[in-house]
Amino acid sequence: MVEWKKDLGLEGRMILTMFLLAAVYLFFLVFLASMGTPQTFMLLFIALFMGAQYYYSDKLVLWTMNARLVSESEEPKLHETITRLCVIAGLPKPKVAVVDTSVPNAFATGRGPKNAVVAVTTGLMRKLDQGELEAVLAHELSHVKNRDMAILTIASFISTLAFYIVRYSFYFGAFGGNRRNSNGGFVAIWIVSILVWIISFLLIRALSRYREFAADRGSAQITGNPVNLISALRKISGTMANVPTEDLRKVEGMNAFFIIPAVSGSMMSLISTHPSMEKRIAALEKIQREIEL
C-alpha cells in the first residue's frame, strides 16, 4: 500500500505566508484610509487592470512567449502524453502549445483548469526522455490543478497598488492631495507604500516557491515516479547553465511560470520565484523515501 503523506510543514508555511500577506495588506488599506487617500478609485483601476491581465493570461503569455498552439495531428505524442496525465489527474485537457527554442523549458498558464494552456519548448522535447517529459508536464498540470495563476494574481493585488503609489505618486503631487494637505502626510504614504511593497514582494516570492514545491509533489503523485522529475530537473538545469543568456533575457518576466527559472545565479534565494535545485531535489527524494519505505 502506497501512502501519500501530506507535507504539513509546507502547507503550514503556505498558510502563514498568506496570512502575513493579508495582514500587511489590511494594515496598508487601513493606513491609506486614515491618511484620507482616495483609494476606491485606485483599487478599481488596479482590479480592472489585473483582472484583464488575468482573464487574458492564456493569450497574453502565449503571445509574449512566442508559443503557438499545436493540434493533435502536429504533435500526436505530446498530446497523447498530456491526455493520459489529465485522465490520471482528473483534469480537463488543456490546450497544448510549443515554443521553438533549444532552451529546454515548460510552463502553464490560463485562469483555471478549463482555460489552461500547457506549453513546452522544442528543446525540452528533444532533451528529455518520455518519463522525464511526463514528469515535467505533470508538474505543469499540478500548477493548473492548484490554480497557481489565480492564487498568485490575488496575492499580488494590493502589492501592485503599493507599487503604483511608489512609482507614480510624484506625478500626481500628493496623491489625492490629502485633506490635511501637508507634505508630511505625503512622505509618510510614500514610505509606508515602499515598505509594504518590499515586504509583500518578499512574501509573494516565498509563496511562489512553496507553490513550486507543491507542484513538484503533485507531479510525483500523478506519475508515481519522483525520480523522473529529479532527472528532468538535473538535465534542464544542466543545459540552462550552458546556454547564452541573450535570448533568455527576453523571458525574464516569465520566470514565475517556468519549471526552471530562465534567469538565475546572481539572484538571492530570498527573491527567487523558484526554490534552489538542491532543495527541490531533496524534497523529491524525501517523497521517494516516503512512498517506498
Binding site: 502547507e11 503556505m14 515516479n225
Partner: protein
C-alpha cells in the same frame, strides 16, 4: 468548484482522484443490446491500461496481479498477456469468448491495483467490438463512466457512429456526458 476543492487548491494539495469501479459491470448487460439491436459484436478482447512505475511496491503489486491472473484465467479459460506501450503504460490484454469473464478479470485487476494504492494510476479499461471497423467502449475510472471510440484511419474518428451509440445506449450504460472527455487512444494495442 466545491469548498473542498477550493481548500485543496489554496493549500496546493492537488490530489489524484481515486478509481471508481462500481459502474464497470454495466457493460456486461449492455453487451446484449449492443449485439442484438446495434449489430456491434464483441470481439472477445479487452484490456486494462495503467501507469508503469519504478517503485518496489509497484513491482510487488504487479507480481500479485500476475499471480492472480494465472489463477483466475485458468478457471475462466481466458488468455492474457502483458505489454508496455510507447508511453510506458502497461496493458493487460485479455482474450475470452465469454464476455462476462473479460469483465470479471478486468475488475479483479483494477481492484488489486486499488488495494495496493495504485488506483489513481489506472488509465482506462477498453472493450473492443466489431462493426464495419473496430469500435471501442472505454471505461474511465476517474469519472466512473463509459464512452465510445470509433477510430477511422490514423487520427480520425467516426463521430456520427459515436453519437449514435451514445443516444441509443444512454439508458443502459453510464456514458460520459462531457464529450470533451471522450479522449481517443490512437495507439490501441488490440
Amino acid at each position: 468548484m466545491g469548498i473542498r476543492d477550493m481548500f485543496n487548491s489554496v493549500l496546493g494539495r492537488g490530489k489524484v482522484p481515486e478509481a471508481k469501479t462500481d459502474r464497470l459491470f454495466a457493460i456486461s448487460t449492455a453487451v446484449i443490446t449492443l449485439e442484438m439491436n446495434l449489430n456491434l459484436k464483441p470481439s472477445s478482447v479487452a484490456g486494462i491500461c495503467f501507469k508503469s512505475m519504478e517503485m518496489s511496491k509497484y513491482q510487488n503489486a504487479r507480481e500479485e496481479i500476475e499471480q492472480l491472473l494465472k489463477f483466475s484465467t485458468k478457471e475462466t479459460g481466458t488468455d492474457y498477456n502483458i505489454e508496455k506501450d510507447e508511453y510506458n503504460f502497461l496493458w493487460v490484454l485479455l482474450k475470452d469468448k465469454d464476455f462476462e469473464d473479460l469483465v470479471t478479470n478486468i475488475h479483479m485487476i483494477s481492484q488489486t491495483l486499488i488495494e495496493e494504492g495504485f488506483g489513481g494510476q489506472i488509465l482506462c479499461a477498453v472493450y473492443r467490438f466489431e462493426s464495419d471497423g473496430p469500435v471501442y467502449w472505454i471505461y474511465n475510472f476517474k469519472q466512473g463512466n463509459y464512452y465510445p471510440f470509433a477510430p477511422q484511419g490514423k487520427n480520425n474518428r467516426d463521430n456520427s457512429m459515436e453519437f449514435r451509440l451514445k443516444s441509443l445506449m444512454e439508458k443502459e450504460l453510464p456514458i460520459e456526458k462531457d464529450v470533451g472527455k471522450w479522449y481517443p487512444l490512437w495507439t490501441m494495442p488490440f
